[in-house]
Symmetry: C2
Subunit: 281 residues, 2 copies
């Protein structure tokens, strides 16, 4: 299959067979990650491969009982690693203060994501499915302790992988024209924006259950596994909040905007405890 | 060729033939980017495709006279776009405040990089070369004005593409073992760190010119094009600062640590002017 078709077909997979990922596959994924583009060729990346069932279960618990994390035979923790660079600089008689510089953080984090997405695509071509779990950032303290991360190493992204048991059906997407602009930003009118998202999610006259299914594929996939408590809780909450469209679903229930903003100060503290003093002044 | 080999062979390309990138290729790249993984399927991505010679030249000037930007037939500006989501939320009677939330920024920026790296890999498989230009972040004000970005849209990454005229020889990399850890972070000793970077860059007894060539492939590639003034300036500066190892080269000359840290406040202001109040408290 051509790569283009593979990329267009790819969906995040949350339901895995128990089959192990062979060692030679892990080696290939890591080698490709290590060869991904990186600003100034600095390579501020460490990957922790988690395969032991007990440690997978523990990681799954930490990130909020997402059953796919413990069920996936392989989880890769992509860390932004300034510890190694700091040590090396010190040994070379120079100081590296990337952990205090927003620009270093932003380029390093981009490097980490380049490596992670390279793994996603290579894994797909080798018959594996994968799913990103970004919530690992919120539990960085626990992750740092359990996986013995030194200071200046931040667990930036979790990727859980395995051979797919089921692959979600098509996920709704904006039309390409909405995302691609020519020569300058082509701002949509209110009417065009409304239409772009209606085209993506379906219009308001569809029922809430159908919305839920289209918009919240994780819940459907979780249901296939063990229906964790939060799936029921979300369903109840949808009724309670009288969620009547997809924007409300996203920004009232799933990512409640005010709470996300309030959370900022706590998140900055989490980074500081990991030695990253790159936000704020 | 298998994808693995393609990924291992891939290098950033900075020297392009003048040949246009056909419209159907641009369409494929954009479609793959639009289908890349994105947290909560929120798709906070806009891509500006820049092909007009005058606009390419202007963009090249903005990011600091890197000749490959104006010479590349296609440049894609990957923007973190919260404007579209805010408008949609507003039209749906709910508020989206992602521009004030660090967590939204970090997931959205990760989304943007997933899309960008998907384009890098697909482009490579279609015979194109590409190079990331992260410095676009530092000139966000100019870019926002010239490319008419609305508020809440940040130019997060620039990718310049074209058919390669030359491809750099192998770039030195850390051994995979240094980057891949098993079950927990496996901290290297000082001696191991020294060896890891000596293995990467060559040891101290090599001459500075050779270092320079290994460590600073951009300069070599720029030389092949038009030797911009900064290549000479860097060479002079290396002598002046008596750079004697690669860590000094990186953290005294190329990314001077103290200056990078000082720059933080200014960078936070740049984000604020774009409507992103997600750092600091």
């Amino acid at each position: 299959m051509e790569l283009y078709e593979l990329l267009m077909r790819r969906r995040s997979v949350r339901n895995f067979k128990p089959d192990e990922v062979p060692e030679e596959v892990v080696a290939k994924l890591a080698a490709a990650a290590n060869n991904a583009p990186t600003g100034g060729n600095m390579q501020p990346l460490s990957i922790i491969a988690v395969r032991e069932p007990e440690r997978r279960a523990k990681l799954g618990e930490m990130v909020g009982s997402q059953p796919w994390v413990k069920n996936a035979p392989l989880s890769l923790i992509f860390c932004l690693d300034f510890w190694r660079l700091k040590k090396w600089a010190e040994l070379s008689g120079v100081s590296f203060r990337g952990n205090e510089a927003l620009s270093h953080f932003l380029i390093g984090y981009a490097d980490v994501m380049c490596a992670a997405q390279t793994v996603v695509i290579l894994a797909e071509s080798l018959g594996l499915g994968s799913v990103y779990v970004g919530t690992i950032q919120y539990v960085a303290d626990e992750v740092r302790e359990y996986f013995e991360l030194p200071p200046y190493v931040f667990p930036a992204m979790l990727l859980s992988l395995g051979y797919p048991k089921t692959v979600p059906r098509n996920v709704p997407k904006l039309a390409v024209d909405v995302v691609l602009h020519r020569e300058r930003y082509e701002a949509l009118s209110d009417e065009e924006i409304r239409k772009a998202f209606d085209d993506k999610y379906g219009s308001l006259d569809e029922n809430v259950e159908k919305y839920f299914e289209r918009a919240f594929v994780e819940a459907v996939e979780a249901d296939r596994q063990e229906t964790p408590a939060w799936v029921e809780a979300y369903r109840d909450k949808m009724k309670e909040l009288a969620i009547k469209n997809n924007a409300e679903f996203l920004f009232k229930l799933r990512y409640p905007s005010d709470r996300m903003v309030e959370f900022k100060a706590e998140e900055i503290e989490t980074f500081k405890r990991a030695g990253f003093d790159c936000f704020g002044s």
